[in-house]
């Protein structure tokens, strides 16, 4: 290994970005997720407008769809790694880039480079929509809190996509990965809400985009939530890389 990883990473990262760019499923997932998120935000906003009692918080309404929005990023993550196993592409990938650890890390980095702007645009568009629609009735939220919350939402969705990519790399097949991840996020996690309150990836991640408040009784601060969610993602990524390096392709 006389060639440094640094010199290798640029072409590998470029190739991984090319793969994402030229796979129609990736674009389709992002487009559908964006549209559904706006539609859901519109629904939550109109419900919010009909409620005459209580305060209407632009941020809460704009991010009310996060639970569903994350599904798009779960699928995105799964596609990123499982698409390698369609049509025998993994053989081409590993003969072109036999440095497995570097290659899969570059793929994760490429995924983050796509997810960060996509997640920010989607989260921000929801909040913007709610802000426009709720207008004067909205409880004014400080701009600092808005930015912090959007950064938290972007970070959460990015970590979710990376975690899903790691699970996809471990399972290698799209359908089992979809069943396991959607099953966890939409069935197992809601059912176990009362136990393990802040320590599962999605529950800890929830606090990343939920500003600390005195009355709500938050279990974790945004920073603690970020820490726990990041730990889950990094652990699963480490497991995925380790397996990827050792297994027969």
């Amino acid at each position: 290994m006389r060639i440094s990883s640094g010199r290798r990473i640029t072409p590998i990262l470029g190739a991984e970005l090319d793969k994402f760019r030229t796979l129609p499923l990736i674009r389709l997932t992002l487009t559908v997720t964006f549209i559904l998120n706006i539609a859901l935000t519109a629904a939550f906003t109109s419900v919010s407008l009909q409620e005459t009692t209580g305060t209407q918080n632009t941020l809460n309404t704009g991010l009310a769809s996060m639970g569903y929005l994350q599904a798009g990023f779960i699928i995105l993550g799964i596609l990123a790694t499982c698409s390698e196993y369609t049509g025998g592409q993994i053989r081409t990938t590993l003969t072109a880039m036999p440095w497995r650890g570097v290659q899969i890390s570059a793929k994760m980095l490429a995924l983050a480079m796509i997810t960060i702007p996509a997640a920010f645009i989607m989260a921000a568009s929801g909040v913007l929509y709610a802000f426009i629609m709720l207008g004067d009735t909205a409880l004014m939220t400080e701009i600092g809190t808005v930015i912090q919350t959007l950064a938290g939402a972007t970070g959460y969705l990015t970590l979710t996509a990376l975690l899903s990519a790691a699970v996809g790399a471990i399972l290698r097949r799209t359908t089992p990965a979809v069943v396991v991840l959607l099953g966890y996020y939409f069935i197992v996690s809601p059912l176990t809400r009362d136990w393990l309150p802040g320590y599962l990836p999605d529950k800890a991640g929830y606090y990343m985009y939920t500003p600390p408040s005195v009355d709500a009784g938050n279990i974790l601060t945004p920073m603690e939530g970020t820490g726990v969610a990041m730990l889950w993602t990094l652990s699963l990524m480490a497991a995925a890389i380790l397996l990827y390096r050792r297994r027969d392709a």
Binding site: M1, A15, K19, T22, G88, T92, T95, M97, A249
Partner: protein, 237 residues
């Protein structure tokens, strides 16, 4: 130069390769022949670093695949199928490979031209015929203009014209000093193309040598192949 030395592969309790050794030398086309399931693909996958050997080694210019500095300029490989995602276009597939290997985009058009895929390059791979998928695999293998070609069943699924093209191409490749290793379970198609023959049966090499040596007293490569593989199968009876 490809060197396979005492290669053993076990999967669970199954013995796939039981210590095989052979070489593929520059300037020659080496045919790696055997019935389906004999261990040909497993050997090639280990050689390309896709699978791990249980013991023994498979080296390219004396190194394991993962230690090559410019893998695509050293080895071009086409295994079963196109090796491309069906939703991507042929051109997009070759372009990301070229990017990974630091090759210019113009090289993609060259190999498309060479393999007769220029017109189909903008189509998604799932719309390709078996033969076109095979050609795309060849195009990817040739991108880096490699010293060594490793091809798994290269004529399988090709029309007569395609088979003729492959034969001529591989001969020219070997004559200009390159190493060519191809696997096949078809004997007839290969006799005119190969210089050296390695015959594998149930994970063991049953014959290796020049074409003439392996044919020996038999009337053709096909006869020799069946005689050799039957003898082996009949050992236990």
């Amino acid at each position: 130069m490809l060197t396979i030395n005492s290669l053993v592969k076990r999967r669970g309790s199954q013995q796939i390769l039981s210590g095989i050794s052979f070489e593929a030398r520059p300037g020659r086309v080496t045919g790696f022949l055997g019935p389906n399931g004999a261990g040909k693909s497993s050997t090639l996958r280990i050689l390309l670093g896709l699978d791990r050997a249980t013991s023994g080694s498979a080296l390219i210019q004396g190194k394991p695949y993962a230690e090559l500095h410019h893998p695509l300029a050293t080895v071009g490989a086409a295994l079963d199928g196109s090796g491309a995602h069906p939703m991507r276009t042929g051109r997009a597939h070759l372009r990301w490979i070229a990017r990974a290997a630091g090759l210019p985009r113009s090289r993609v058009e060259e190999v498309l031209e060479l393999t007769g895929l220029s017109d189909a390059a903008g189509k998604r791979v799932r719309n390709y015929s078996l033969g076109m998928g095979k050609r795309l695999g060849m195009a990817a293998a040739l991108l880096g203009d490699p010293d060594i070609l490793i091809l798994d069943e290269p004529v399988n699924g090709l029309d007569p014209e395609g088979i003729r093209w492959i034969r001529t191409f591989l001969r020219k490749r070997a004559e200009s000093g390159h190493t060519v290793l191809l696997s096949s379970h078809l004997m007839g198609e290969l006799a005119e193309t190969v210089d050296d023959v390695v015959i594998i049966k149930q994970g063991t090499i049953v014959a290796a040598g020049t074409l003439q040596e392996v044919i020996g007293r038999h009337s053709s490569l096909e006869e020799a192949f069946f005689a050799l593989t039957m003898e082996k199968a009949g050992d236990g009876v």
